[in-house]
Structure formats: C-alpha cells, structure tokens
Amino acid sequence: MIASALGLGATALPAQETNQSSQIQQLQQQIRQLQATIEQTEQQHRQQLEALRKQVEALQPPPPPAAPVALPATPEPAAPGGPAPGGPAPTGSAPAAAPPAAGEKKGWSPADPIQIGGGRAYMNLGLVGTFAAGGSTAHGIEGGTQLGGHDPNQNGFTVQGIEANFAGAVDPYFRGNANVVYEIDSRGESFLELEEAWLETVSLPANLQVRAGQFLTDFGRINTQHPHSWTFVDSPLASGRFLGPDGLRNPGARLSWLAPLPFYSELFLAVQNSQGETANSFRNDNGGEPMFGRPLSQDTGNSLNGLLLAPRYAASFDLSDTQTLLAGVSAAFGPNGSGTDTDTQIYGADLFWKWKPARHHGGFPFVSWQTEAMLRRYQAGATAAGSYTPGASGVYLPGETLADWGLYSQIAWGFRKDWVAALRGDYVLPVDKAAYEWILGDDPSRLPRWRFSPNLTWYLSEFSKLRLQYNYDDRQQLGIDHSVWLQFEFSLGAHAAHKF
C-alpha cells in the first residue's frame, strides 16, 4: 500500500519544470498523508472489526423473520462496484480495506464512564481569554460608566477575564460543568471567581431536568451568557444595576420542565441563596457601604424565607425556515438587606429574534435582535442611620418601595463572513424620586441614564476575535461621557457550543 501510494506520488508530479519548492511541498504532503494513512489503518481495523462483530451479533440470535436478504457481511468490500467491477480502479491513495486484525471491545454498560470530546478524554477543557484596551472621558470607570464586573475597568488595558471551562459527562446520570474565572481588577489585584459549578441530570423522566450547585440564575438572556458570548464589550446597564456587576448567581438548585407541546415551551424554577455580592438586589451588604441611603446587612432571614426564588418561562417559534423567535418572562423574589422584613422583586421580559438565510456560510450573513426589559421593586427598610452623604447621618428614613425600570435593545448584523456590526441602546430610570433622595439628595445609582453603543466585530477565526466599540453615555446630573474600547479574545480547547 505504501509503495503504491509512493508510486502515485511520483506520477502525480508533473515531470516538467514545476519548481522544486512546490515539489518538496507536495512530497511533504505525501509523507503527511502516508503517516495519517498508517495511523488510520490501525483504527480502520478496529472499526471494521467492531462493525463485523456487531453484524455477527445482529445475525446470530435470530432477529425476527429469517427472510435472509443478509446484510452485506463485510462493509467495505461489499460496496457496490467497489474496486472490483472491471471499471477503473481508484488510483487515489486508497488503502484497500484490509481484513480486520485482533483487538476485542465489549459493549457499553451503564457502569462504564462516558467519554466525550471525540472520545479522547473524559472531560472537555476550554480556556477563553478576554482583554480590552481603551479609555473614557469619565472619571469613575469601574462602577461608574461601566457597571459590569467583566467590563473594561480603567483607561489602558483590562483583563476582562480568563475563563476556564470544564465540562463532561459525570456518569450515566449526570453531566458536570464548571466555569472558573481569573480576573485582575483596576488596582492590579488578582482574584478567582467560581462563576458556575453544577451538575445536571440527564435521564429524569417526564421531561424534567434538575441542576444543582453554583449557577447563573435563568433570568432573561444576558444573565446566563458568559462574557465571551456577548455581542458587546460590556454588559447592559439594566443588568448591571439590578442583577449586579457579576450577574445574578448563587448556590442553589433548579428544576426545569420541557412541556410536551408542539412548540418549544420550557418552565424553570430556581431556588438559590439570596446573600452575597452575586445577589446584588437581595441580601447584599454592598461591601459595608450603604445602598439607597440605608446600611445593609446580609444576616437577615435565616429561615427558608431567606431564599431567592426565580421562576422563568420561555417559548420559541420558527417563524419561517430562516427566522426564529425566542421569548421569555422571568422573575426573582427574595429578601434584601435593608431591613428585617424587606423584600425585592425583579421582573423581566426578553425577546430574541434571528434571521439567517437558508444558504449561509459559517453562519453569515445574519441579523439578530435582542431586547430585555426589567422592573425592580426594592422594599427599603425604615432606618435612623441614613448615612448616604457626609453630614446626613442620623437622619430618619421611612420605609418605602423603590421602583426602577431598565431596558436595553440591541441589533447585530453579520454583514459579511466573519464581520458583525451591532448597535445597542440602554435606558435605565426610576419610576419616581424616593423619599430618601429628597432628604439625602439624588442617588446616582437610580438616576436616569442613556447609553448608545455601536460596535464592529471581526472574527479572525472561530477561535479569536477583535471588537471595537464606542459608548455615548448620558447620565443625568453627571453629563455626557465618551468611551472607546478595543476588545480582543482567544479561545483554546473545546469548541464553545452556545445555546440559541
């Protein structure tokens, strides 16, 4: 076989004045092919043996009626008109199907570990590095113009996150997934974040699925998306303001049910802890700083009432072969840290529409539109220790409910292969001015704010991209700011397959 392939190599080269380098190139290619062929042969043998064994198995314990139109016993040689019929024999570097060699394989049993990733490892590993460079006219970037914990956070360079993903089948009953993020903040401090780590059932009856561990709450769309799958450099203002800089995520459990309807329709119910900085509008002590003029505590609610409850319903329709709509409504209920019996409710509605033509190449062109609206009602407790502004301490603040709106809408247009132009509009505003604001002055974390963000993304390949974004930011009382960010990203290891 090797000899014949070499012979082919010789005849394949036009013996004319093709320059040497291309000859060398071709020979190198031949060598590579041969190497591959040799390695293949071994695998073929194993595969053929396996196929034969299966056929024997299928034929031996007489499978129903005996009408033996016998399945072709040997796969390759049985191929109709294979190399046999007088016609031209393939002259390609065809490795003639060799008879199977030794090597037995047993059938799968539920006790066996499941292999994924082409069956070459028990776990898929992936690493995504996301960086940004740029600057802003704003004085406070981190927590000021940029509300997201993975947003660019300073003039100059930002490590937005180095995210390691570990995923695989645990056993026949569970699938495991973990995302660990390494970050460097604007002061140069490094820290690790356990973004997600959960296991999920794979074989519950009645279309049910349970996920348990640490996970991002299914609230709307953006909250469950990791930064590398965002269409923009930064997170939307509504999500930063209500769900928090790092999104809404905590240890807990989630039950989901895929309804047996003619269209996709899924119900989710998550129960999670409600304390900590990853439950921003709930039992969050805000790093010891007051919020809405009140001192906060994480310690309230040590009963089951202290948990966060997050239901969601999502439905999807294919409007045509090329257009798909996915819509959802979400809510999150739980106690907050501003009093002993104070709750927060966040409601959300989200919509995602995408058009992709029947003949796309690499997923291009496409147009997608994503919109989310949120309403937060935050019951702020009565307090005598308002200390929002210096000199204001000791002021009595009445109990009150703070209602805030947030909305973003973004459209992305993959106008040619590997290029995406996108535009996002952000708007956040309070329903009305709160009592504490009359006393302590306007609270910048509730003031109306607009933002417009056009950007352009270039995917150099499936595994790296460059993105340039401009933010026009209009904060009431703080004025207008301009920011420009260049984002660059690489991805190593397992394919990052994304949900729709």
Binding site: A36, G118, N207, P260, H361
Partner: protein
C-alpha cells in the same frame, strides 16, 4: 357524572400530546443520513433533519425547535466526526432524552465501520478548523453510503423488529440500485482518471479517492479560513501547472471568489453539494445527489478538455 368527562377529555389531550409511536422516530443531523434512513426505513420510519440541506452544516443555530425534535426522537443519526460539534451538544442537553444518551442503542454514529481519511496526527488549530476524527464528509464516496445503509438497516431491525423484513428488502433494493449507478458513475468518470480538480472547501477527499481524481487544491488556505489574495495567487499558479480545469463550490460558499479564480485559469466553476437537497432536484435522495455531482463533473471535465485541446 362529571368526573368521567374530565377524565376522557384529559385522555384525549394526552393522546394528542403523545402520539402513538407506530413509526420509528428518527432524527438525522444532516440530510445525507436522512436520505439513507429514508431509503432503508421507507414508510416505517418518520425522519426529520436538524440542519437544512442548503446551509453550512458546520454552523447550525441550536434553535429551540430542534430541541423538541430531539426530545421526541427514538434514534439520532450523527456523523461521528465532529461536523456537528458546534451545535449538537447544547441541543442534546436541552432535549433530556435518555434514548439518545451517548452509548444508548438509539445514538448512532454513522461513521462506524467507515475508513476515515485525514485523521490529523496531532491536533493543532493553527492548521485551521480540522476535525480530530478525520474529514467528516465521508458520504461523498458511495461505497461509504453502502456501509452506512447496512448499519442503519441493522439498527432499524434491532429497534423495530416487526418491520425487519421491510428494512432488509429496502436495503437490498438500495444496494442494487447503488451498485448499478456506481458502475455507471465509474464509467462516466473513467476517462478523467488522474485529473486535478480544485475545490473551495476540503469536502471531497473520499469522492476523489473513489473515482481516481486529485482534489487537493483548495481556495480556502486552511479549512474554515477565508481565501486570501496571496493564497489564491498560489492556487491559480498550481491550477495552471496541474491543469485543474474545474472548481467545486458548495452552493452556500462564496461563488464570486471561485468565479474570479476561474477567469484567471480558464477553469469552469460547478455547483455541487455533499448534502441531498443542497442542489435543487436532489432532495431526500442520495443517489440523485451523487448523480448530479458525477454528471456535472464529467460534463465540465469534457468541456474544458475540448477547449484546452482546441487552444493547443
């Protein structure tokens, strides 16, 4: 008196929601497996396909409607060579269907028993988007279609023994038909043994091997990467040197690039697909698909050979 009514209504609804599984519910990732499943399964199986035949099967959106298809399937036919790596996993996770779990009898890797080509000696993405299990377009060789068809017949017989006789008969019909066509295809392409053909994407190594052609010149510098002017200049030179006078382009790829290369080399661009339905008239029919490829290739090779002969 009211309870029975409610019960009956509920039962009626349930029966609507869970239709009696009289036919084997088969989902194929791509239309080539679906076409073979149809040839073998006939009326005994209900087949749906996840990727549309006209789209780039490497990049399919994991639409929620596809989750539903997988949720109800008894059998999943996948390529087994990572063509679907970018989109099948999240769909299966959402589908929560134990019948399709890895290793379950309903989860079929169609490349089982197929001799895969171009298995990389080492995994290195600087080589472009290569597949660890080898080139996934193995059904461009009709001999491999025979292997897959036999495999499917075996699977269907196991999962649906009552129709086994039908599946065997269908397999025989298909195999005979394929054998007859194979002889015709080989005869048609026999005069062009050893010819060089260029292609936009490296989808045709199995086809080339079967019919004795050389398809090693690609407009993509590396699989999945867009053509660059420098690379195209090199390809044009090599096409002239190797007298490659035909360029294969899948319908979803950029025809303009191929056309401009054709103008510089005097080659002819032909639209061919490796998925049934990728070209009009080949829907759900594997044999028609290969017919289309072989016929248009033979025609183009003959035409360009005549032209070359006249100019010499």
């Amino acid at each position: 008196m009211k309870t029975p009514h409610i019960l009956l209504t509920a039962l009626a609804w349930l029966s609507f929601l869970l239709p009696a599984q009289a036919r084997l519910n088969v989902v194929a990732t791509t239309s080539d497996f679906a076409a073979l499943a149809k040839a073998i399964g006939g009326d005994q199986v209900e087949i749906s396909t996840l990727a549309q035949p006209t789209e780039d099967p490497h990049f399919v959106d994991a639409k929620p409607s596809l989750i539903l298809k997988l949720n109800r399937a008894q059998v999943l036919l996948e390529g087994g060579a990572e063509l679907e790596a970018g989109w099948l996993a999240p769909l299966l996770q959402g589908a929560r269907n134990p019948r399709l779990a890895a290793g379950a009898p309903g989860r079929i890797r169609c490349n089982e028993g197929v001799a895969m080509l171009e298995i990389p000696a080492q995994l290195d993405r600087s080589e472009g988007d290569i597949h660890a299990s080898g080139n996934p377009h193995y059904l461009t060789d009709p001999a491999n279609a025979q292997i897959v068809a036999s495999h499917l017949a075996e699977v269907f017989c196991q999962l649906d023994p009552k129709s086994a006789a039908n599946y065997r008969a269908n397999l025989k019909t298909f195999a005979d038909h394929l054998a007859a066509r194979m002889a015709a295809w080989q005869k048609l392409l026999a005069p062009f043994q050893g010819c060089h053909v260029a292609a936009y994407h490296n989808s045709w190594p199995y086809f080339a091997r079967r019919f004795g052609l050389h398809i090693q010149l690609f407009l993509e510098p590396k699989p999945g990467l867009p053509p660059t002017p420098a690379h195209l200049a090199g390809i044009i030179a090599r096409m002239k040197a190797e007298q490659a006078r035909v360029i294969f382009v899948e319908p979803y790829l950029n025809r303009r690039t191929a056309d401009s290369v054709a103008r510089s080399t005097g080659a002819k661009v032909i639209e061919v697909a490796y998925l049934p339905g990728g070209i009009k008239g080949t829907e759900n029919d594997y044999v028609k698909l290969i017919d289309q490829v072989v016929n248009s290739l033979a025609r183009a090779l003959a035409e360009t050979r005549n032209q070359a002969g006249q100019t010499e």
